[in-house]
Subunit: 231 residues, 2 copies
DNA sequence: CATTATGTTAACATTAATATAAAATGAAAA
DNA sequence: TTTTCATTTTATATTAATGTTAACATAATG
């Protein structure tokens, strides 16, 4: 049957295709060619075709791609036709923000509960869910068929909490803690390291300001000063 | 001088190195070899050496890398020795969360102000900063030497607000709005598309559950049903 | 002087871009 | 109406570029 593993590079691009296709669909556009989509999204047409082809070719020669069909297929590939139940561990600012922001519901990600170690937060309502103490997690996960845990706690406790969650049967962790989690094979982790992202931005600002942006090399761009290295 | 462009793949790894080196430093570790770091970080030693070498070689043969020196160098490469002034546009849940979370201050990212179109939020204090109306942005940016704008507003207004920010002289945008911004050459944009990240997680859950995880192919893994394609 | 461990070159693997081939469309001609 | 045919546009194969890992030669250590 020869089904090859699809690279994460491709997967990472799917949500963006999905977003654009959703917009096209909303505009009532029925069909689109890789060429048109290419201009819209600023990626090469060939990459678009290659990406879609990984999953078996959704287009038709001479016609292009049917927007709605393609949208639905990508939706299935991403597993958005299934419902996921999630809980938020850490009901601080970020946890609450994510809880309240639950636009995700539309895509099948249903928030079922929030937990926090701080007793002051217990009972606080976030989008209709009362924050619970950490002790409740185990029973709650087992009783409510929870797939995904959102980790919005400080890094100091993140590793051990993640371990516990896994032992309770959680299948995936959306990790906002600034630490690398160690999980067994088969448990999915998606990291959102905000500070890493900000540092990358900082690098690019810095780099561009040194005149070494995307333009040709200029003299004096090399800002390495020769300092004592080694010890 | 032959300074080659460093790929974003490398840059993306720097913050993680930086994090590990910071931890080592805090533990009082003075030196480390690429081999040791490799085991700690679960990447190949050769990649570590290759990455560091992009910037001119921070180690010494027979010795390894001096933790503190390397930490400082990466810090400089990432531009963390410079101060950046930032403002948050959109003081909703997410904007407030980021504002409050300002651990970033330690790295030179100083929050100077928040802005929101909703008058109900005007005056609300977030980490000591009163939320201001959008009309104030222009003057504020010019008077306070603002580098970075954090965009935590709905996608409907994000594009036009980004354009305005650029016209006011902003150099970089940390974009949390779920839309692609169009900015002129030289303006840096770093996107944090949370829903994309969640969809990627969903894909991987789904994929693994079909038994097609990282293990060998199994029969019946192919869940493509042959539907009508084209129109 | 043997060992350690980097820097660097070379091999390999992956990803993206380009070129070619084939299928379907849609319009014009029979 | 049917058929032909040029055009559109995908799918596939090929080539090029990029990124990663391995190998090795060299320098410093102890």
């Amino acid at each position: 049957m020869e089904q090859k593993e699809i690279s994460q590079a491709v997967i990472s691009r799917l949500p963006r295709y999905f977003r654009y296709l959703g917009e096209l669909k909303d505009e009532g556009i029925e069909r689109i060619s890789s060429q048109e989509l290419s201009e819209l999204m600023q990626v090469t047409a060939s990459q678009i075709r290659q990406d879609f082809n990984n999953f078996g070719g959704f287009g038709q020669q001479g016609y292009g791609y049917n927007v709605e069909y393609l949208y639905d297929e990508i939706s299935k590939i991403l597993g958005l036709n299934k419902t996921h139940h999630l809980i938020i561990i850490g009901a601080g600012n970020l946890g609450q923000a994510i809880g309240n922001y639950m636009n995700f519901e539309r895509r099948g990600f249903i928030l079922k509960g929030l937990f926090d170690a701080n007793p002051a937060l217990t009972g606080k309502l976030v989008r209709g869910n009362a924050v619970q103490p950490m002790e409740n997690i185990e029973a709650f996960v087992k009783e409510n068929d929870i797939d995904i845990a959102v980790l919005t706690i400080p890094k100091t406790s993140a590793v051990s909490v993640a371990e516990q969650l896994v032992s309770y049967g959680i299948k995936a962790i959306w990790n906002f803690a600034h630490v690398d989690l160690k999980v067994p094979e088969g448990i999915q982790v998606e990291n959102v390291h905000l500070s890493d992202s900000l540092m990358k931005l900082s690098y690019n600002i810095n780099r561009y300001q040194l005149g070494c942006g995307s333009e040709r090399r200029k003299m004096g761009c090399d800002n390495e000063e020769q300092g004592a290295r080694g010890r």
